[in-house]
């Protein structure tokens, strides 16, 4: 009788104590969802990804992405789906095809062409510059100090 009472009390005691702190962590699904969400644009925001944005639209998209990840769709499949529904705008950068090559290659092309033109202009200037005189004069105090300063710059 007493043992049963003690056991009952012990069980009650155990049940009423606070739960042990649980360590939570991201699941693979969380991580995959984030990866995909970071590559889609929130269409109602300003240059934010669906991952960063707090808008209801972004939240729904994240939930949708999560569902698709749970169903086993790959990142490419999910992106392809949204791309087919919203067009290129939903990607975070212009897809590298067609006229968009202008914006991807353009800057480098300008840099190379500009560099070449600059090089040509510089050579032209060099060839049109007369050579420096050959006479050497003795050095005075003011010049010596100036040279010392110039050596430092």
């Amino acid at each position: 009788m007493l043992t049963r009472l003690l056991v009952a009390l012990a069980v009650l005691g155990a049940l009423s104590s606070p739960a042990v702190a649980t360590t939570v962590d991201e699941t693979d699904i969380d991580i995959k969802t984030r990866e995909v969400a970071k590559t889609l644009r929130c269409t109602v925001c300003q240059t934010e990804t669906v991952w960063e944005s707090g808008s209801p639209f972004a939240r729904q998209v994240r939930e949708n992405i999560r569902e698709r990840v749970e169903q086993g769709q790959s990142a490419e499949e999910i992106r392809a789906y949204f791309l087919s529904r919203y067009g290129d705008y939903i990607l975070m950068q212009p897809p590298a095809r067609g006229v968009n090559w202008l914006v991807w290659i353009g800057p480098f092309a300008v840099l190379i062409v500009g560099g070449f033109l600059l090089y040509r202009t510089l050579t032209r200037w060099v060839t049109s510059t007369p050579a420096a005189p050959q006479t050497v004069e003795p050095l005075d105090e003011a010049s010596r100090r100036r040279i010392e300063r110039e050596l430092l710059s």
């Binding site: 649980t22 960063e52 914006v103 840099l111």
Partner: protein
């Protein structure tokens, strides 16, 4: 009553700006200096009047006069004093008034400061500044007046946008405007040179001082914006390549190119026309930035309310200013051409030119990226997004190229660098660069940014270090003191150069911080209840409790998290989810903890009634190097601006 007085003051300023344009022209025509004096008084009086306009508006803010429409839309009776004052530039109309007020202040200072030393430039300076003020004042008086009344007056204001209720955010626009406006002075000087057909040597010195001051303000303004975005917007980043961020970055890039190129003009008296072109582009980009923000042409976090009519006016103003400036440049370029004497391609002059090329291509890239969506929409009717992945791929390589040149320019000789000079200065740095890159690779780093960054950083830091080492040793030996004293002597002997080197060091640190905090940022998002914990890298965060907090004009749910490393409690972190009373707008306030020169960054995006919260933890390695680097850049500029003037300067 007071607001009407303010309005009247601003209208009077508008009329005076016309006088400010006409008087100097008359003065030049009749060759009578008295007319120029009239111009000077106009500019000064405009400054006083605009000050009165601002004062009247502030008075309305402080007395909570919600019958003034602008005050009602940007403030609230519970808004704290500091933000009430700053609310003046919280919306489109008021910020425009601030812009033109700062312009009038700078113009007045410039006119009075250089009156005796630059008399020939005065008429043009006055006329050009007055023209720009005229343009802005027309916009304010007729299309964007902050002085309008609203009947019936609302009992309560709408409130300042909660995102703006933050110290960094309040200082960001004034700093930025000081930068934009600061560039108008060298611009006016350039126009003076073009109109008068004369470009003397004194022009350079004055231009350089204003340019470096404007550059400082713009740099600080941009950094403040980045810092605000970092802790207020809550995604752990600080730059989104948002169109309006880009709008402030472009004049910075071209302004930096100008700052460097002008040194060649100073030293070798060359590239005068090129420098005129650069400053016109810099100031044009400042105005274009204004257009982009206020016209509704682009979506952005920052765009003010859109209005095609306003946009059209600003566009016309833009066209007139740019047309006049570039037109005069085209017409007068021949007169001001300098004699080009270049002894070798391997020279500092040459590196400065490549520096300019890279800066301009960088600016053009940002420009292209920002406008490309608009171009495609106009041309093909479809829409694309040009976001961070684009800029990371295209802009970063150009930036790294620039950084590399930063390690070459100061250490290569003027005129003609001998092979000896090249070997002495660059052989060791190149070896170190390869070594550092190999080390990075060996340590497992694979990101192209990190590898390329390692090479460039290795190179540049070695060139800087060896140069400082050499001069310190030279002076230490000469004066028989230790290296530190030697360095200080070297620094004082050529403060201008070493202040510049300090700024370069700041840039280097900034770039390292950017690479580290962008490429190696880690993030974790979890759902928690009180008592739960999660780990992030070497850290552990426990949610101790969730409680309510009350602010002056907001209420919040605050989570008290404990940050552990192993078993050691490092600190408490208290992110909040706030609701501002007046507008019922939610904001997330982040909690930051600095460790190892990086941040542990925590926000609480969601708090549900059942006691579950979503916590978002981010580790930003070396993020303090970003802000620290920016600070050192600014320090370098201050050391430059406040250097003792030598006899021959």
């Amino acid at each position: 009553m007071i607001i009407e007085l303010g309005h009247f003051a601003v209208v009077t300023a508008l009329v005076l700006s016309l006088l400010g344009i006409a008087a100097p022209i008359l003065g030049l025509w009749t060759k009578n200096a008295d007319w120029i004096r009239v111009g000077r008084q106009s500019v000064t009086l405009i400054f006083v009047l605009l000050g009165l306009g601002i004062a009247a508006l502030e008075y309305s803010y402080l007395t909570r006069d919600f019958s003034v429409a602008y005050v009602a839309s940007t403030s609230n009776s519970r808004l704290p004093l500091f933000y009430t004052i700053a609310a003046l530039w919280g919306g489109h109309e008021g910020s425009l008034l601030l812009w033109v007020f700062i312009l009038s202040a700078f113009s007045t200072v410039a006119v009075w400061l250089h009156w005796r030393t630059q008399p020939a430039i005065m008429p043009y300076l006055i006329a050009v500044e007055s023209s720009v003020m005229f343009g802005f004042l027309m916009l304010i008086v007729f299309l964007s007046s902050p002085f309008e009344r609203i009947f019936p007056a609302p009992i309560e204001g709408k409130d300042l946008n909660p995102l703006l209720q933050d110290p960094a955010m309040t200082m960001h626009p004034p700093m930025l405007y000081m930068g934009y406006v600061g560039f108008s002075i060298p611009f006016a000087f350039a126009m003076a040179a073009l109109f008068s057909g004369r470009l003397g040597e004194e022009w350079i010195k004055v231009t350089q001082r204003w340019t470096i001051f404007a550059w400082l303000c713009l740099t600080i303004g941009i950094m403040m914006g980045g810092y605000w975005a970092y802790y207020e917007l809550g995604w752990g980043g600080y730059w989104g390549w948002d169109p309006v961020e880009n709008a402030s970055f472009m004049p910075w890039l071209v302004g930096t190119a100008f700052l460097h190129s002008v040194m060649v003009q100073e030293k070798r008296k060359m590239f005068k026309v090129w420098n005129l072109f650069l400053i016109i582009v810099t100031f044009s980009l400042s105005l274009i930035g204004t257009f982009l923000v206020r016209s509704g042409v682009l979506t952005s976090v920052h765009t003010f309310a859109t209005d095609p009519e306003r946009g059209l006016y600003i566009l016309i103003f833009l066209a007139v200013v740019m047309g006049t400036a570039f037109g005069t440049l085209i017409a007068r370029a021949q007169k001001l051409k300098s004699q080009i004497e270049l002894d070798s391609i391997v020279s500092r002059e040459s590196v400065f030119m490549f520096n300019n090329l890279f800066f301009l291509v960088a600016a053009a890239t940002v420009f292209l990226g920002t406008l490309y969506p608009l171009m495609i929409e106009t041309w093909k009717g479809s829409k694309v997004t040009v976001g961070p992945p684009y800029y990371n791929a295209v802009f970063m390589p150009i930036a790294l190229g620039l950084l590399f040149m930063m390690g070459v320019g100061p250490y290569i000789a003027w005129r003609k660098a001998s092979l000896d000079n090249i070997k002495k200065n660059f052989l060791l740095p190149l070896l170190v660069a390869f070594g550092v890159t190999a080390l990075a690779f060996a340590l497992g780093f694979r990101s192209p940014f990190t590898i390329a960054g390692a090479f460039v950083v290795g190179f540049v830091s070695t060139t800087i270090a060896t140069d400082i080492g050499k001069v310190s040793a030279f002076f230490a030996r000469r004066d028989r003191v230790n290296y530190l004293r030697g360095f200080l002597t070297a620094f004082a002997a050529n403060q201008r150069r070493y202040a510049g080197i300090v700024t370069h060091i700041g840039v280097l640190i900034l770039v390292i911080g950017i690479i580290a905090s962008t490429v190696y940022q880690t993030e974790k998002v979890v759902s928690l209840r009180t008592g739960d914990e999660f780990t992030m890298g070497p850290y552990r965060l426990t949610l101790a409790e969730i409680h309510d907090v009350q602010g002056p004009n907001w209420t919040a749910k605050e989570g008290r998290f404990e940050l552990y490393r192993g078993d050691r409690l490092l600190t408490e972190m208290r992110p909040q989810k706030r609701i501002y009373d007046a507008s019922q707008t939610p904001t997330t306030e982040s909690a930051l903890y600095a460790i190892n020169m990086g941040h542990v960054f925590l926000t609480m995006p969601e708090v549900s009634p059942d006691g579950t919260v979503t916590a978002r933890g981010v580790i930003n390695p070396l993020i303090l190097w970003v802000w620290g680097g920016g600070g050192i850049m600014g320090l370098g500029v201050l050391l430059n601006m406040f250097r003792p003037r030598k006899r021959d300067e």
